[in-house]
């Protein structure tokens, strides 16, 4: 069965604008791992779409600034997909002085946070992401978040009427706190 899946993945790669091969490895339990570096970052959405159609799943995205980098750019971005137990590791090299990779969140919701973290950690632009805010609270918004805190116990213990929030927010306003 794994051979069929491997063939499916190979044909997906072969259909790209600049096809490259997949190098296959196996662990000692017989699980298959495919390794592939895409020639063009632009090909990523196509294979992401094809994998989604085949009910493949994105596991994670990893940014990396390798010690020995490619002539194309300083960074590597690795995408780990799984298709019925077979792992496909796709590496994309964002090129140029303003490195960018296309977003695949449209096809794989699991890419959402990973792409935001990639952009936040490596300053790699993820083009076409639907909500490119920093993933984690940072120095700019952390204090603001805490100032607006309403204890959950206040909410859950008294959540019985539609006027509850007006009362809570009213009290905060009367107390001079920021809403």
């Amino acid at each position: 069965m794994n051979n069929d899946i491997r063939t499916t993945l190979e044909s997906m790669i072969a259909d790209l604008s600049e096809p490259t091969g997949i190098r296959w490895t196996k662990d000692l339990h017989g699980n298959d791992y495919g390794w592939c570096t895409l020639a063009r970052a632009d090909d990523l959405p196509r294979i992401a779409r094809d994998l989604q159609t085949a009910e493949g799943r994105l596991i994670t995205i990893t940014g990396h600034a390798p010690n020995t980098h490619s002539d194309k750019g300083f960074f590597e971005v690795s995408y780990n997909f799984v298709l019925r137990g077979v792992i496909l590791n796709l590496t994309v090299i964002p090129e140029g002085t303003k490195p960018a990779v296309p977003s695949i969140t449209r096809w794989h919701k699991a890419a959402d946070w990973a792409e935001r973290e990639l952009a936040e950690s490596y300053e790699i632009t993820v083009t076409g992401h639907p909500d490119m805010r920093p993933l984690f609270l940072n120095a700019e918004n952390r204090d603001d978040a805490r100032a607006r805190m309403v204890p959950l116990s206040v909410m859950t213990n008294s959540a019985v009427t539609s006027t509850l929030w007006e009362r809570i927010m009213g009290e905060k306003t009367e107390g001079g706190e920021q809403q």
Binding site: T25, D27, L28, H29, N31, Y33, W35, E55, R57, L58, I59, T60, T62, H64, P66, N67, T68, S78, N80, V82, R84, G85, I87, N89, H108, K109, A110, D112, W113, A114, L135, F136, L137, N138, N141, R142, A145, R146, R148, M149, V150, P151, L152, S153, M155, T156, A159, V160, T161, S162, L164, W165, E166, I168, M169
Partner: protein, 361 residues
């Protein structure tokens, strides 16, 4: 005038075991939408991993998270073993499974217990914690610690079991069966629990697939992606056990998956303890770890955990990255909480068994 109110929840509150900040849009008592902000306990552990050698990182990764603390060093060691082609002795593989499944039982019992605590059913909560405590005692007796049990090393297991300890574990598991069965029956039939959990936090199968969710969150929506069966590792390929699926897609279904999985874990543990072959527990000597890339996956209590490693032939990893199950499960809350009652927020959040330590690393 808009009838929608924005309520910030967190980042610090007793119902949230760890700091997470939710911005909840409500209309009256009904949640319209939520937004989430992480980052309050970011420790930069992936950066720290580059400053430590390959052996020191076993200790570091065990401290990513306490509840699934066995799966982190296990997955990390497996990634290195995949990279270097290290064959773990069969006894070592069985010992790894034993540590993993004991941790899974304790973790599942804890999550279900906290869910019941959030419902305000404190007698049953205490019962859940008492059952979980038996596994804590077991861990302390066998490994000398209640959370971080240091069971793994590169090439195998760091501990062994003699006949007395095997008998002790089997006895403890036997004693656990009846009370956990009663607990499961109580969870299934008690009207208060049913009223709070049935139909609460709905997460249909189609959404579970779309969001790429993992673990009991996915299996509570009927999505089977248990890594122990999908891509067997350690001794799981030699063992007989079932994947637990529920199709309710609600808080109740996710809790039932966890409770039923306890019985599968007991089944796995009994097979391991009764059939574990003799021999070495660890590969010795170890080969040199070459330059290269490797990936490993395990089924942590919360779901799929993946480790990816890049090495350059030195003792220090060039890049070590892990993606924890909670990381992909957070976004499911947007679906589960839409249309939910405010009073159910904590219950629904708990139902994904969230882990901030893992998420933020």
């Amino acid at each position: 005038m808009s009838t929608t109110t924005t309520i910030p929840v967190g980042p610090l509150h007793v119902a949230l075991e760890e700091p997470m900040y939710f911005q909840v849009e409500v209309e009256g008592e009904v949640v319209q939408s939520i937004d989430m902000f992480a980052g309050n306990s970011h420790r930069g552990m992936e950066g720290l991993a580059r400053e430590r050698n390959l052996f020191q990182n076993i200790v570091l990764t065990e401290r990513v998270c306490s509840l699934c603390s066995n799966n982190h060093p296990l997955s990390y060691c497996m990634a290195l073993e995949n990279l270097a082609g290290i064959a773990v002795p069969i006894r070592g593989q069985y010992l790894r499974v034993i540590a993993d499944e004991v941790k899974r039982i304790a973790s599942h019992m804890f999550n279900v217990g906290i869910g019941i605590h959030v419902m305000g059913f404190h007698t049953l909560f205490m019962h859940a914690m008492e059952l979980r405590e038996r596994m804590q005692d077991l861990k302390e007796t066998v490994w000398g610690n209640r959370m971080d049990i240091a069971a793994n090393t590169i090439g195998g297991a760091r501990y062994d079991l003699d006949n007395d300890r095997i008998a002790y574990i089997l006895r403890t598991l036997e004693e656990l069966k009846k009370p956990v069965s009663e607990f499961l029956h109580m969870y299934r039939t008690h009207p208060q629990i049913k009223a709070r959990t049935e139909g609460t936090g709905m997460f249909p199968l189609s959404e579970a697939k779309r969001y790429g969710t993992v673990g009991p969150v996915a299996r509570g929506s009927g999505l089977d992606n248990d890594i122990r069966r999908e891509s067997p590792y350690a001794a799981y390929g030699d063992l007989t056990f079932g994947t637990v699926l529920e199709h309710g897609c609600d808080v109740r279904a996710r809790a039932l998956v966890r409770l039923r999985e306890i019985f599968e874990s007991i089944k796995i543990l009994e097979q391991c303890l009764q059939n574990m072959p003799g021999g070495p527990t660890v590969c010795d000597p170890l080969p040199r770890i070459p330059a290269g890339q490797a990936v490993s996956r395990t089924e942590a209590p919360r779901g799929e955990l993946i480790y990816t490693i890049t090495t350059d032939g030195t003792l220090y990893p060039e890049r070590l990255k892990w993606r924890v199950p909670t990381y992909v499960n957070w976004e499911a809350l947007r679906v589960m909480l839409a249309g939910a009652k405010v009073a159910d927020i904590a219950l629904i959040v708990n139902s994904i068994d969230p882990c901030l330590s893992c998420t933020e690393r």
